[in-house]
């Protein structure tokens, strides 16, 4: 930890504040992942860690190394850009996959669906009973 003694006062405070923000936001996001009830609630929680959790830690790292090496060091921003771009892609894919699985199993706790065309043509449970009654009355 000797190199950290070379940091000036303002840089140490900035790095410490960003580390504090990043660590606590990531912890809150993971606690939401652990605590929330349904999967569709849970999928929102870790984005707290991937948005400002990552951004704060990356900013702390950029400030620390830029001040220590006395030249701008921007390589850590690659991690931030990459995580910012890829998180929506993965979470939307995962959400669509979960929605597909839940709908194919006819789970009741799933958002409503615009029915595909084939399903509209098939009779529902109540329709079938009525039609059976109509058929039987016709036969009589």
């Amino acid at each position: 930890m000797n190199h950290l003694a070379d940091l000036p006062f303002w840089a140490a405070w900035l790095v410490a504040a960003f580390l504090f923000i990043g660590g606590s936001l990531t912890l809150i996001g993971s606690f939401g992942l652990y605590r929330l009830r349904s999967f569709y609630d849970r999928i929102h929680a870790p984005t707290l860690g991937t948005s400002w959790g990552t951004a704060a830690v990356v900013l702390a790292s950029i400030i620390c190394f830029s001040v220590l090496q006395s030249r701008p060091v921007f390589q850590e921003i690659l991690v931030g850009i990459f995580v910012t771009i890829t998180t929506p892609v993965t979470l939307m894919l995962l959400g669509r996959a979960a929605l597909y699985r839940d709908r194919s199993e006819n789970n009741p706790n799933v958002p409503a669906v615009d029915p595909p065309e084939g399903i509209l043509d098939q009779p529902k449970m109540g329709d079938k009973l009525e039609s059976v009654e109509q058929c039987s009355s016709k036969h009589e």
């Binding site: 860690g49 991937t50 979960a98």
Partner: protein, 93 residues
């Protein structure tokens, strides 16, 4: 004074990130369905990447940055492949 503040901030960030990794691991083990486990694995990847960045600040070594970049890329590919598998039942069609 400033070194002590920085030391405690780094200790706090490491503790919080390890606790977050434990929570994600709990969700990954306990998760009622497969998509919960995949989400827990994704969160675990992101948290370990952040932990490596904090390690880099602590040791003053820029080598940890490259490891965290590789973890981010592998996590993205792994989560996309697992989501595709959950959707279709196979990864490459």
């Amino acid at each position: 004074m400033s070194t002590a503040i920085l030391y405690w901030a780094i200790m706090f960030a490491q503790t919080a990130l390890v606790a977050a990794m434990l929570l994600a691991l709990t969700r990954m083990i306990k998760g009622p369905r497969a998509q919960d486990r995949v989400l827990g694995l994704d969160t675990l990847y992101v948290n370990s990447m952040l932990l490596l960045l904090v390690f880099g600040i602590r040791t003053g070594n820029t080598l940890y940055f490259e490891a965290s970049l590789i973890i981010a890329i592998l996590g993205f590919v792994a989560t996309v492949a697992l989501a595709k598998f959950l959707m279709r039942g196979e990864v490459i069609e």
